[in-house]
Symmetry: C2
Subunit: 310 residues, 2 copies
């Protein structure tokens, strides 16, 4: 938690990104400048037991934001969250997010932004939180693709500032399951993470992008390659990472083609892996910081809701 007060700016609203396993809140000035920050692991899963309001009040007070309006995005708006904020349905303009916010039934003006659903029986899909990151990281009128890697990676097609369609990939979740619980875990050195310049990452990526083999067989070959002396445990994690990320990006390329620019919303080592992988796959990409994207998205909506712009 950082405190950046004393800048001669007054808090105008509180912005909160409330995910499944994380909580981040900022005291924001009227011009969208963050004045103070709180972060914790009190995500939706934690709060389902501990209570959302208690966690909310404690952090808002610590931020010095008591009495200010608050805007929340993420899983706090899920059915099993604090207060359900019904999904907007694709296609949807991103500037419709504010109008879709629901008021939480407590003292003060506390609103939760809706997620977005693709209510198609063939390709049903859902997001909560990513829509706010997209709003915070694209220019109005943007046309192209957005990739938000993570536990449940999203690929989102945007036309003139509207979400047209999107696809979720269980890339991060499968990575964790396979690396920790499957027979492949015996072929990995958990101390050695994938890096963008690892030959094993490039090999996994190339194999998956070629689409020549099913993922369920490529994964097993990580173990076989080690048993037969073709690979080292040192390289296992990078190979696994390359295969899973390549499978996601290859599918997105087949679905959308490669002619669109990709806005990557990510941070840290994962951003570096995806930048390399996207370039490998023939995409042109620019990266936006994931946390900044959430904060900016929340600010954009807050400024329209409460007219606090100077």
């Amino acid at each position: 938690m950082e405190q950046q007060q004393g800048r001669d700016a007054r808090g105008a609203f509180v912005a909160i990104d409330w995910g499944t396993s994380s909580f981040r809140a900022w005291l924001m000035a009227a011009d969208g400048t963050p004045l103070a920050e709180r972060r914790s692991d009190e995500g939706m899963r934690h709060c389902a037991a501990a209570g959302f309001e208690t966690v909310f009040r404690r952090h808002v007070t610590a931020l010095g934001g008591d009495g200010l309006p608050a805007l929340i995005c993420g899983m706090a708006g899920a059915r099993q969250g604090w207060r359900e904020a019904p999904y907007l349905h694709t296609p949807t303009r991103l500037d419709a997010l504010g109008a879709g916010a629901v008021q939480v039934d407590i003292d003060g003006d506390v609103r939760i932004l809706p997620g977005v659903a693709q209510a198609s029986s063939d390709e049903p899909d859902v997001m909560r939180g990513e829509e706010t990151q997209i709003l915070g990281s694209i220019e109005p009128g943007f046309t192209g693709l957005v990739c938000i890697p993570g536990t449940h990676s999203k690929w989102v097609r945007i036309e003139d500032g509207a979400i047209v369609d999107f696809t979720t990939y269980m890339t991060g979740e499968l990575f964790a399951l396979v690396a920790e619980h499957s027979v492949v875990s015996l072929a990995l050195d958990k101390e050695v993470n994938a890096t963008p310049d690892s030959p094993a990452f490039a090999a996994g990526l190339a194999a998956a992008l070629s689409g020549d083999a099913a993922l369920t067989s490529s994964l097993f070959r990580i173990r076989s390659a080690m048993l037969l002396g073709f690979a080292d445990r040192h390289d296992g994690t990078a190979k696994l990472s390359g295969l899973l990320i390549g499978s996601e990006i290859g599918d997105a390329a087949r679905r959308h083609g490669r002619q669109h620019p990709v806005r990557l919303i990510a941070a840290g080592p994962l951003a570096r892996l995806y930048e390399t992988a996207l370039t490998h796959a023939g995409f042109t990409t620019t990266t936006a910081d994931a946390e900044l994207a959430s904060r900016r998205g929340l600010s954009r909506v807050a400024l329209t809701l409460w007219n606090k712009r100077a």
Copy 2:
């Protein structure tokens, strides 16, 4: 455990299928008839701690097989098993299995059959136990495909009784991981298993066989479909099963074409699911019982090793 003695036949050898998590042993007559059986969950994983010889001796004595030669297939021959039986390498004739057996260093004639490795840096793969099932379920000179579904499903191409190449799919292991540990578990009713005539199984199968979407996105859509009211938890397991089995069979079809007959080595509900799926995918298939296949494969080798045929 059943006892089928008193048939006026004498035991000639002991046949053992010793897997990762299961142990099955039979007292066999000289003509390959099983006289008595033992089964337990003392697989390789258990025995790595408990000791292989203790488990072996106890079951052989209970079978009335003390002093008889014994032949073992499966993970007992792995590096981390009882005694390593080095892999035969593809392409390999199945009648080479007996010559590749290694003697265990204890009193008596106890031998472990080798597994088979595909020692290719592009497509490394390994099997232990399935080679014996194949020997026990194909006619000499068989040409075609063998499919052995399970935790690590095998697809094996056979030409004139020799293993030419093969591929392992982590179908069963991924099913268990996703059904028990992933976000998709929230969209499944664990009491309701997949059945061959379930529309959700057929839908999952068709989606995966079409190859239109990455498995990592199709899996997430099981959850999204339920959240958005397009699917019921009742159907979740069947959908998951259809997607994973379809992904495996679709890959095998792309790899080998559909012109070859498929010998399916399986049993019970899994055999029924695969029969349906293979037919759906355009394969002609005949089923051989998995356990019978192991026993027959062990018998065929034993009879050549010890010349016990009447």
